[in-house]
């Protein structure tokens, strides 16, 4: 079972302290490709929450049967199988949802955050903890990628929420800057993602340092990353 303290710890780790995009710097490929707008970034994250929660849960259930030497192939097997199950299930029973998320689901398996969390967390913890760890890592990704997408979209095209029509038909996007805004292509292209992400990382580190200064303690050491992108 899971205690309240554990739950809180997992929540804070996933959404802020070990944020997959700002701290662990994992899953950079889908991040570059998909955060051209807020809606795209949010949709990719939603699909990831789904896959990470379920893959964490299943691996944690099976963790005592997986020999250490072959854990990586087994983890990949489990994650790939679950992504395919999610893909098929969504295609069959939630087709309108699949039309929106469909292209993002196969991308998730290329996202090494899934494997990283299985290896770092689900292989050593209980099923419930792993389910929440996966889901909250995804939630951390959700707010980060949404913000990143919103900034890139605003600078690049001057719009807010473009593409929302495909998700919620009643809503429509907003032209924030004047309609004759020429756009700023770099922001939409992959380098724009790195530049904006770097600014976000700097902002987070600055905030942490300020907070540490106020509390009169040392700023937190950056956490080691798993070394895959």
């Amino acid at each position: 079972m899971i205690t309240w303290a554990e739950f809180k710890e997992i929540f804070v780790n996933g959404t802020w302290r070990q944020n997959s995009s700002l701290v662990q710097m994992l899953g950079m490929c889908p991040l570059l490709a998909m955060t051209t707008s807020l809606v795209n970034g949010a949709m990719l994250s939603l699909a990831t929450i789904f896959v990470m929660g379920s893959s964490g849960f299943v691996v944690a259930l099976l963790r005592n049967f997986i020999p250490y030497e072959i854990r990586i192939p087994v983890f990949i097997l489990v994650a790939a199988a679950l992504v395919t199950v999610v893909d098929l299930g969504m295609n069959a029973y939630m087709h309108s949802m699949y039309n929106i998320l469909g292209i993002f689901i196969p991308l998730i398996i290329t996202n090494c955050i899934v494997l990283a969390r299985i290896e770092a967390f689900a292989a050593k913890n209980g099923p419930l903890q792993s389910l929440f760890d996966g889901a909250f890592m995804g939630v951390g990704m959700l707010w980060t990628l949404s913000l990143l997408g919103a900034i890139r979209e605003f600078i690049g095209a001057g719009t807010f929420l473009s593409g929302i029509e495909a998700v919620i038909p009643d809503l429509h996007h907003y032209q924030v800057l004047p309609a004759d805004y020429p756009g700023f292509l770099v922001s939409i292209l992959p380098p724009g993602a790195f530049i904006v992400l770097a600014c976000m990382v700097a902002a987070k580190n600055w905030y942490e340092a300020k907070a540490a200064e106020r509390a009169n303690r040392k700023p937190p050491e950056p956490l080691a990353t798993a070394g895959c992108h």
Binding site: P67, I70, V78, L88, Y93, I188
Partner: protein, 220 residues
Amino acid sequence: MPMVKEPTATGMAARTSVILFVFVIVFTAVLAGVFALTAPAIKESAAIEEMRMIKEVLPQALYDNDLLQDTLVLTATPELGEDDESKVYRARLAGEPSALVLEAVAPDGYSGRIRMLIAVRASGEVVGVRITQHKETPGLGDYIDPKKDKNKTRPWITQFDTLSFDKLAEKEWKVKKDGGHFDSNAGATVTPRAVIKAVKKALKYANENRDRLFASNEAK
């Protein structure tokens, strides 16, 4: 014989491979099961999806047959820009030929191929055109897709509706910038040029092959 406590290398290798094998079998079985379970529903969704696309170019009033059953598979047809097989749906009204729905490709879009669906009446008149797949620049060339077109009352792609070679001479099938009939947005003329050319070629192909396409008995 004394009991061996330490596993030998061979023993370890055998044990792990058996475990890995069991995992592979179990998860393959899970996948096969899920695939079999979802296959009918997926097929149904795909058919609905296909029909939804067709309905965008062809109003219900123009056919009373099952379009998804009355199809032809064409081998590579350069007139349609296809270097692979393409599908033709044959719309009939009370058994009489009513319209053809063709898949076509504009190979010379600004960034790659533009796939589209074109409905042509038996009289040689375009009913409608819809882009099904493209990689044109977002916010610049993607107005060929009515969902992305800022002009919601009269999207760019609807300029083709009801046109025929009788109403608009073949040499007029160009953007205004090139001395033709069609509007285009400033700054993005490569995309509409490619689409117009592809529609023109497909319409010509439909006109010339109409009787053969309707008569063919290779329907699935």
